[in-house]
């Protein structure tokens, strides 16, 4: 029996948080430090505040079509041809996230944890989990997310906070010495870190039980993300300094490798960091792959997303291996970030205007 899943507000919050919190926290300090220097933590806050506009925009847009997903209302707003083009572009945009993220993650894992394991084996393992967990629909996914959120995300947050033990206060100064422009420049790369909730809302809005609270819950999720990202960036800045963070390939991991708590059972944080990061990352990718499968299901008008999820595994694996180096991966990641910004602050407002105009015409008629 095919029944519609119902998503509670708490589950929606968990979905929003987990969809954003994956691999970008490991490289974000580098991207923001390059532009914002000592104000890197502030750039992340500014990026988060700006992202709230996107949450408002997508909630507003979805509010016009409470029983339809974005793939359906794109066709209504843009026409069947243009709407389908937008859907395909959106699916392509969504699929770049697991490709880039899994690639970056497995490289980090190989460098610091599994140095003898071939990259493809790590990728296959991650994708196997995603394929298995993702093929039975949204409800098992949400249950998995809730379990991992309680067991791994909260524990990882504790490990992240222990980073405070190694910070140097002098790394935070001077404050705003270069003015506000570098902070704004730093906010651009931080956008990618927040990406996630807008697609959760646009794809899953019809399934959320209390639609009137979606905006509030989305804002809470983004604010919590903002706090967590600011903590991470602030701690990495405090440990490495802005100059060093800008030169590191994976600054968060390097910073946490520098934290030692001698004569305690913890001793070093990096082992705990990695062991918790693996489930945190895996469930983040699970959502993204599900969203891609969900989009493809809607485009192809399939009844179930299961065959699409199974098909996506080898496709993602192929493209992960196409990326030749970390540098090329970073460039692709940068361009994907720009594409998300264009979608969030370019396409979404345009769609709102169209929806508002259609609504107005309908009322006049």
């Amino acid at each position: 029996m095919n029944f519609l899943p119902r998503i509670s507000l708490m589950q929606f919050f968990v979905l929003c948080f987990i969809s954003s919190f994956g691999v970008s926290m490991s490289t974000l300090p580098r991207s923001v430090a390059e532009s914002a220097k000592e104000d890197m933590w502030l750039a992340v806050v500014v990026g988060g505040v700006a992202f709230l506009f996107t949450v408002w925009a997508i909630t507003k847009l979805s509010g016009y079509f409470p029983q339809q997903t974005c793939f359906e209302y794109h066709r209504i707003l843009l026409g069947s041809v243009l709407g389908e083009v937008a859907n395909v572009l959106l699916v392509l945009l969504l699929i770049t996230v697991p490709i880039i993220s899994i690639r970056s993650f497995i490289v980090a894992l190989k460098i610091y944890l599994l140095d003898l394991t071939p990259l493809s084996i790590i990728a296959i393992t991650v994708l196997s989990f995603i394929t298995y967990a993702g093929q039975y629909g949204l409800l098992p996914i949400i249950r998995t997310l809730q379990f991992v959120f309680m067991s791994s995300h909260l524990a990882l947050l504790l490990i992240i906070l222990l980073g405070f033990l190694a910070i140097k206060p002098s790394h935070y100064f001077p404050f705003m010495a270069q003015g506000f422009m570098p902070v704004l420049k730093g906010a651009i790369p931080s956008w990618y870190s927040y990406t996630g909730p807008e697609f959760i809302i646009s794809c899953l809005y019809p399934f959320i039980t209390r639609k009137e609270k979606v905006f509030k819950s989305g804002v809470v999720a983004v604010i919590v993300l903002m706090v967590v990202y600011t903590l991470i960036i602030g701690i990495v800045q405090g440990i490495l300094g802005a100059e060093e963070s800008a030169h590191m390939l994976i600054p968060t991991v390097i910073a946490y490798r520098s934290v030692e708590i001698p004569d305690t059972f913890i001793e070093r944080l990096d082992g705990y960091f990695f062991s918790l990061w693996i489930p945190v990352f895996a469930v983040c990718m699970l959502i993204w792959v599900y969203l891609v499968a969900f989009g493809m299901k809607q485009i192809c008008r399939l009844e179930y997303s299961r065959p699409v999820v199974v098909l996506l595994g080898p496709i993602i694996l192929y493209f992960i291996n196409v990326v030749p180096s970390v540098q090329i991966g970073s460039i692709i990641s940068e361009w994907t970030n720009y594409a998300f910004i264009v979608w969030d602050i370019g396409v979404l407002p345009l769609l709102i205007v169209l929806a508002w105009w259609k609504e107005k015409r309908k009322n006049i008629c």
């Binding site: 003898l116 100064f173 390097i254």
Partner: protein, 398 residues
């Protein structure tokens, strides 16, 4: 004929059977005895480039580069439970390689052992003074790129050869590198003890084109001592050293003097001594800019105990005596601060992070002087020192 349900069960059983072959061990499994824990790394210049022995084993074949550095690796010797060690050479293995590329030297060791060198547990990286004077920035590049290396590794300079620190026999039963790193736990107890500078700190200084200091370590008669401080310029080259009293001054300016014992001539009888133990320390350093004139002020407030007084007839609770002790201690600490400050002004290096202080307090002014800071500006900037010492207790006797 198999029905649909049993077929799936058999398939599942088959998959689980096959999985047994793949999940019985970790792909990255490596036994502890197969890991070459390089606990200490010593870097010297090669003494002679003549072949050493018939096969010249220390030599590392490189496509490019000279036979420039001799790199010594100290590895722990794992013993069975019942075996006892006499310490020194019985506690460790030593491997050496000679070349210019650190990477190739490290890999060349693999041709001499059944394990590969592992840097996750490295405790110390020691440079000979000759190598330090030539510059360490290029050497550190490999260690900073190596994902196994931790940024907490302690860096040291030794006046002699670094290999001697790692290969010398100690009186205590320990691996030399571990012993050196353990000494650093006492860094707060002894103010004449150079503060630890680790790989992360040095990398940050080199990247920021800033001068830095590194503790010196010596080994003599089976004893290791961490002493003095090697001073490096912003090119990563050692250009001088601070003696143990100057180290106290340097630590005071960097707000790292928290504990320790200071001795002075007894105010009542200059032939006798009085020793003061610092228990509490509050230090603040500020920069001031007025009319284009820059200067620094250092204000410190120390409180502690009179721990020793060799003028035994002296009534130590006498307020006149105590205030004289306090004044003399303040004067001595001021002298030590100014000694290192003036030395660094003469060397045109600034390792106290005073430039960073100016940058934080006057960022616009900093932009105009940052390129001339060490060579032109810092040597002319005065430092005003105000130190207050309070003797709280005089021990168990009057």
């Amino acid at each position: 004929m198999l029905t649909r349900r049993p077929l799936r069960t058999w398939l599942l059983f088959g998959v689980m059977l096959v999985l047994n072959f793949f999940i019985t061990g970790c792909w990255d499994r490596k036994e502890i005895e197969d890991r070459g824990f390089a606990l200490g790394v010593g870097i010297d210049h090669v003494v002679t480039t003549q072949p050493k022995g018939q096969y010249d084993l220390p030599s590392v074949t490189q496509e490019f580069g000279e036979r420039k550095y001799q790199v010594t690796f100290e590895l722990p010797r794992f013993r069975k439970g019942e075996e006892k060690s006499g310490g020194g050479t019985e506690s460790h293995y030593i491997f050496m390689g000679e070349g210019e590329s650190m990477f190739q030297i490290v890999r060349a060791i693999s041709a001499k052992t059944y394990f590969s060198l592992f840097f996750e547990e490295t405790q110390v990286l020691i440079f000979s003074e000759a190598v330090a004077k030539e510059g360490i920035s290029e050497i550190l590049d490999y260690f900073l790129r190596n994902p196994g290396m931790r940024r907490k590794v302690g860096l040291f300079v030794t006046p002699g050869r670094a290999e001697d620190i790692l290969t010398g026999k100690l009186k205590v039963e320990d691996v030399n590198s571990i012993f050196v790193s353990k000494i650093l736990k006492n860094v707060n107890i002894n103010p004449r003890f150079a503060s630890l500078t680790n790989l992360g700190d040095i990398a940050e200084a080199i990247r920021g084109k800033k001068s830095f200091v590194m503790a010196e370590v010596v080994l003599e008669n089976g004893e290791i001592k961490v002493t003095k401080t090697a001073i490096f310029n912003n090119q990563g080259k050692m250009i001088g050293e601070a003696d143990e009293q100057e180290v106290v001054g340097g630590r005071l300016i960097r707000k790292k003097l928290k504990e320790g014992v200071i001795s002075i001539a007894n105010p009542a009888n200059p032939e006798k001594l009085a020793a003061f133990e610092i228990v509490e320390a509050k230090t603040s350093v500020s920069s001031h800019l007025e009319g284009g004139r820059l200067w620094f002020t250092l204000e410190a407030d120390f409180a502690g105990n009179l721990g020793e007084n060799t003028e035994i007839d002296q009534k130590t609770l006498d307020p006149t005596f105590l205030s004289a002790v306090e004044e003399q201690l303040a004067a001595e600490l001021t002298r030590e601060v100014l000694a290192i400050y003036h030395k660094e002004q003469a060397l045109q290096v600034e390792v106290f992070d005073l430039g960073a202080l100016v940058r934080r307090q006057y960022p616009e002014y900093w932009k105009t002087i940052k390129d001339r800071w060490e060579e032109e500006i810092f040597p002319t900037v005065p430092l005003e020192v105000k130190i207050k010492v309070t003797v709280r207790r005089t021990g168990m006797i009057n």
